[in-house]
């Protein structure tokens, strides 16, 4: 980036930030500088510089009352005069389109409703641009039926327990669970419902595409505490011996360009690699290796190697 372009981006960033910061401080009188900084995703020093900058902003004829007046008392920010910046501007087309694309990829009965609402929150003259841009981002297909997602979203918003029928891959069977749905989150290309499982007494992830059925329960729940959230993990730290795979050049290039918890053990001159993946089952390793059509194999631990070898022999038997 040239210096001129960078400077332009900086000034634009600052403008966007202060157009949010001023109304936010109006709405939250006495908000600590630290909180504002966290909300805006910048260091506290930047917020203090922004406040300094804002002191010089006003509207003609620039009498004392025509300036913005924000001051810091102790570490708390107060707004004395906001000069009509009491609410942020409408969404720009790219803000609305990015959010709409994210919402479409998750889905739910409200999917198109939220897209319309976002569109209506863009200035009139920019709505055609919003439409065009939204056609240019595809963040994924919803992980489950809209009706199912709609119920989960409803339960999250109303803090109502959910009864789900869940398919567990490792056991190949379905079971009934009662879950307090805390949130939905995405990792490595899959969506999960993260919530407290009543019977197991702890928060667990449930893959959305494995929830066969769900219904809202009458029971209400308390949201997780901050401490519980801070401890929250979608997956517990991978345990057990990591699985080691050998990959040919094509498989290695494909796999390593994608998100995943790979650890490259060794690379060869042709571009192939030996990699380790922690916390996966023998079944997963076999399926994964075979998905490279002969360009990858499971090396260790012995149980995984055995599982893989058996699968290869049994599959081969079908072609005789």
């Amino acid at each position: 980036m040239t210096r001129k372009v960078a400077a332009k981006a900086d000034s634009r960033d600052r403008l966007r930030r202060v157009l949010f910061l001023v109304p936010y401080a109006v709405r939250h009188p006495g908000i600590p500088v630290r909180d504002l900084a966290r909300k805006c995703g910048v260091p506290e020093k930047q917020i203090l510089e922004d406040l300094d900058f804002l002191l010089g902003v006003g509207c003609p004829p620039f009498a004392p009352d025509d300036f913005l007046d924000l001051y810091v008392d102790g570490d708390k920010v107060h707004v004395a005069l906001h000069q009509s910046f009491s609410r942020p501007p409408r969404f720009t087309e790219s803000e609305a389109a990015a959010l709409a694309a994210a919402a479409r990829a998750l889905g739910g009965e409200g999917r198109e409703r939220v897209v319309r609402a976002l569109r209506d929150a863009v200035p009139r003259d920019r709505r055609a641009l919003f439409d065009e841009l939204l056609d240019r981002i595809f963040a994924g297909s919803p992980p489950a039926k809209d009706s199912l997602l709609g119920r989960i979203e409803q339960a999250i918003a109303a803090r109502r327990a959910l009864r789900i029928r869940y398919f567990t891959d490792s056991r190949g069977e379905e079971s009934e669970r009662v879950v307090h749905p805390y949130t939905l989150a995405q990792r490595l290309g899959h969506w999960y419902l993260w919530g407290h499982d009543e019977a197991r007494g702890k928060a667990l992830p449930f893959r959305l595409d494995r929830i066969r059925e769900c219904a809202l329960d009458e029971k209400r729940f308390e949201p997780p505490s901050d401490a519980e959230l801070a401890r929250g993990r979608l997956f517990s730290d991978a345990q057990g011996t990591p699985v080691r795979l050998r990959m040919g050049p094509l498989a290695a290039a494909w796999a390593l360009a994608r998100p995943g918890q790979w650890r490259v053990v060794k690379r060869d001159a042709k571009g192939g690699a030996v990699v380790e993946v922690p916390g996966v089952s023998d079944e997963w390793a076999t399926r994964f290796a075979l998905s490279f059509g002969g360009d990858a194999e499971v090396l260790s631990p012995p149980s995984a190697r055995r599982h893989y070898g058996d699968a290869v022999r049994r599959a081969l038997a079908r072609y005789r």
Binding site: G107, V114, R258, L290, R313, A317
Partner: protein, 337 residues
């Protein structure tokens, strides 16, 4: 006066005015900026106006009539973020989807998305539970591993996002998967799509003279045509559908003429297996199993998909592909023997 300050001053003036502000008044209030004579001052004002619009501040010119003088104004209705008036479950959808996307770090218009999420707290009354869910989503989805690589990918994606929005041509250095060498090419960026957790740029490749997809992780560097940033370089081809391209199964990539393939699955197919063959597959129950039929333009990809299912699945037709599956498995079996 600094530009950022001038833009805000101008916005404040127009927001406070109860009537359109004439060009002459604006010149008088900003003598150092727009006071000069003739075209140059107007051009500068027009550029500022365009930037305000990009920030979400729509400045309009209204012609006068008997009741109103001619001039510029910011329509307050069209400026302040309105309440979205959505039911709680829809707010949960927005909050959770937005936060999960933000947590990925690598998402088109990620910076804009962060602004949008901030604004959302003004656009909805009492989001309560949804906001808590959003914080949780952000935390759970965030991946601290490989932070540097992601920051790099995020920067490339941001540059491409800007090019997509402005329809500006990009110059890519691309590390291909099949040939290990790098190629350089000019691409008209049509759009961005995500698949299996990875982002792809879809666009018209001027080197191959066709629409191609580029894996973000293999884009070594990207340069956006910097000339005339507000003038588009290309039109998107008629009939192009990003969603269609993004939801193609790997065996539907066009590598050869279409071939009908049949695969036999043992036992009843569970939902996940059915979905794994895509919405265009047809299914037939047979004795002790299911036969699925798909149209394939990339046999190699179908072979991989079937092999990944182990002894649950078997290619029936065409014969040549069946034979290939046998050879691959025989070679693998020799290695484990």
């Amino acid at each position: 006066m600094q530009k950022a300050e001038r833009l805000l001053d101008l916005a404040a003036l127009l927001l406070r005015a109860s009537e359109p502000v004439s060009w002459r008044d604006i010149q008088e209030q900003f003598p150092d900026d727009y006071g000069g004579p003739g075209e140059a001052a107007i051009r500068k004002f027009e550029r500022d106006k365009a930037e305000l619009l990009e920030l979400g501040i729509p400045v309009r010119w209204v012609g006068g009539d008997e009741d109103l003088s001619a001039g510029y104004l910011v329509d307050k209705e069209d400026f302040y973020l309105p309440d979205l008036k959505l039911p709680p479950e829809d707010l949960a959808l927005l909050y959770v989807a937005g936060s999960a996307a933000l947590a990925q770090r690598v998402f088109p218009y990620a910076r804009d998305l962060a602004h949008a999420m901030n604004k959302l707290s003004f656009a909805a009354r009492a989001p309560g539970a949804s906001e808590v869910a959003a914080v949780a989503a952000l935390q759970l989805s965030a991946d601290d591993a490989e932070e540097d690589a992601r920051a790099d990918a995020a920067r490339r994606l941001e540059a491409i996002s800007i090019a997509v929005a402005g329809r500006k041509r990009v110059h890519l250095v691309y590390a291909g998967a099949e040939r290990r060498g790098r190629t350089e090419r000019d691409v008209d960026p049509y759009g961005l799509y995500q698949r299996g957790g990875a982002w792809f740029l879809a666009g018209f490749c001027r080197l191959r003279q066709d629409i191609r997809s580029f894996h973000l992780g293999r884009i070594v560097s990207v340069e956006v045509n910097a000339a005339a940033p507000r003038t588009p370089d290309f039109e998107v081809r008629k009939g192009f559908s990003l969603a269609e391209l993004a939801t193609r199964e790997s065996w539907e990539f066009r590598m050869h003429a279409p071939v009908r393939c049949r695969v036999r699955l043992e036992g009843p197919a569970i939902q996940e297996e059915r979905e794994s063959f895509g919405p265009r597959a047809t299914w037939k129950d047979v004795d002790g199993g299911v036969v699925v039929e798909v149209e394939v333009t990339n046999e190699e990809a179908l072979l991989r998909h079937v092999l990944s299912q182990g002894d649950r699945a078997e290619i029936l037709a065409p014969k040549a592909l069946r034979e290939k599956a046998r050879k691959v498995l025989a070679a693998l079996a020799r290695r484990v023997a």
